[in-house]
Amino acid sequence: MRILACLLAMWLVPTLAAAQDVWRVAYNHFPPYSFQSETGDADGYAIDLIRALAATRGVEIEFAFLANPGEIVAALGDGSVDVSVALARTPARQEHAIFSVPHQSVRIRLYAPAESAAEVAARWPDGVRVGFAKGAYPAVVVSRYPTAIPLEGTTNPDVLLNLMNQEIDAAIYPDTGFRRLVEAFDTRRRFIAVGDILDEVPLHLATSISRPVLAETLSADLSSFIVTEEYSNIVQRWFGEDAATVWATRTVLMLVGAVAAVVAIAALVGHYYQRRRAEAAMVAFAQEKAEVEQRAAEQLRSRNNRLEKKMSELEELLYVVSHDLSSPLVSISGFSRNAMRAIGADQLDRARELLVRVEANVRGMSRLINGVLSVSRIGQETTHTEDFQLPDIVDEIAMHLDGLLDARNVRLVCDQDATLTTDRHLFGRALQNLVENAVKYGCPHDKNVVRIIVDEAGNRLRIGVLDNGPGIPQHLRSRIFLMYRRLQSDDSGSGLGLSIVSKIAERLEASVYVDGSTETGALFWIDFDASEQSQRKQAA
């Protein structure tokens, strides 16, 4: 029996001595109650408390920083740690740990941005996205807010980040802690408590279930310590005004690290999005380039078509002009040879007759050459846009063509007024050409009228020249400007009158065509788009 007692004493003494020499203390990140400082040391209200208790016993402490209360409870249960500094008591936890008297309490409140706090209060708890730091509260507290979202990450600042990013509408947080957290973040946004205190959770020292003696000792020591001035100092340090600054400073330092990490991540994310944006910009650029190329190709095609049309018009002109120039040359050649023969045979009257024909053909050639030059000049002349009245122009034309009108017994009538805004000189020439044609080919009677007609409807202003001749046959109406051909043989003109009119119209951005609706008499229109006219007027 003595031997047994000796053996028991030999086993117990070192065990107890060891137990008394070192407390293995578990804590988690739960500022300001407990947290790991920037140097990796344990810090906080509860850490100061356990240090003070250990000091009175002359015991050393080994701190174990664990991820969350769940791990702490497990460590207490399997005896790998002796004490935890600040833990709420729940029935489940009492199976693994022995709880002391409470030494502090955590008031839990709901926090929301000041601007939306009223709305959150009105809706709470339905329809409010509530977040809380996962693992920070006993299950019993959390179970009261089944819609609350446990936020990943072990640091409570995550809650504030989520709140600031508007991922949640409100956060469940210990009141003292939240104030410190916001101060530490130095956020310009205001967050305020919404409604009453949700919960007040007492905090205890929790001792491993395998250390009932130690539990007894700590609980007794705590009861006597919390009434001392030293304890008041600790409370003042962590929850008083000064304490706020100290804690905030430490948290700021810690947060600087966190922010640096966030910045680094943001930089990576930024780089990723920058690359995405660059890729998107390149795709957009490629699309734009393709569109520009397509537009350029279309412009080129339409320009080519216009050029081809012009070329074919020019070929047509060349064809007709070469015929109309060759034709008098044949006559001149024939008549002059015959005239020489007649002179040789002393038939001077016959020779004179032939030379008159030579002269007439030379005049015809000259008119044609001048006509071709006129057509080519129209494209080169600069235009001067001005306002003028149609009847004034008609009077000028009547004066110019006085002889012709008299000879053919034609009355030129214009009983409608219109204000035109275009090049007066070019328009006058075009109109005169049309009137001349009307007089020459459209006035077969003893008494004739050539009428100038105004048709103003909406944006359109058309000036028409109507004769009382046979009209233009249907099958020639579309070709008449293109072919530059006279419909009747006639020696009096160059044959290029309509070609000149067409060219002038093009220059004045107007169109010219034969009216298809007239039964008798030819009606030619010079057609201006009034909106284009007003644009030109504004530009002028």
Partner: protein, 141 residues
């Protein structure tokens, strides 16, 4: 012996008179009927055939004329079973291959360029006249 009958379709009166002169410049008298348009010529031919079964021995067709031009008239003549036997010669200042090919495609029997070298034009017209006078039947169209 009956005179060789030529129908000249020409809208330019100077060319008409010069051509008619050329055709008789060798001293041989020929009958030259001159009409100024394709429409007139077609009516004339149709009417002449219907009334007297009489047709010209040679058609000389100017190409560039207002209204029905020489090539249009050629098409009508060469697609008409009674008129197609008449030799048809085109007369034109046009050296355009478009006109020459169209004349060929529409069975013109020849194509004479109205040259401003009047002597060569005259000799070409005289040669044509002699050729078709000495040829009994028209070339198959």
């Amino acid at each position: 012996m009956r005179k060789f009958r030529i129908l000249l379709i020409e809208d330019n009166p100077d060319h008409a008179s010069l051509t008619a002169d050329c055709l008789q410049s060798d001293g041989e008298e020929v009958e030259v009927e001159c009409l100024a348009s394709g429409e007139e010529a077609l009516a004339f031919l149709t009417d002449r055939y219907a009334k007297a079964n009489e047709l010209p021995d040679l058609l000389l067709l100017d190409i560039n004329m207002p209204g029905m031009n020489g090539l249009d008239l050629l098409r009508h003549v060469k697609s008409d079973s009674k008129l197609r036997i008449i030799p048809a010669v085109m007369l034109s200042t046009s050296m355009s291959m478009r006109d020459i090919n169209e004349a060929k495609a529409n069975h013109a029997n020849s194509y004479v360029l109205k040259s401003s070298d009047f002597d060569s034009l005259e000799s070409a017209l005289l040669q044509l006249k002699r050729y078709w006078r000495e040829t009994d039947t028209a070339a198959p169209a």
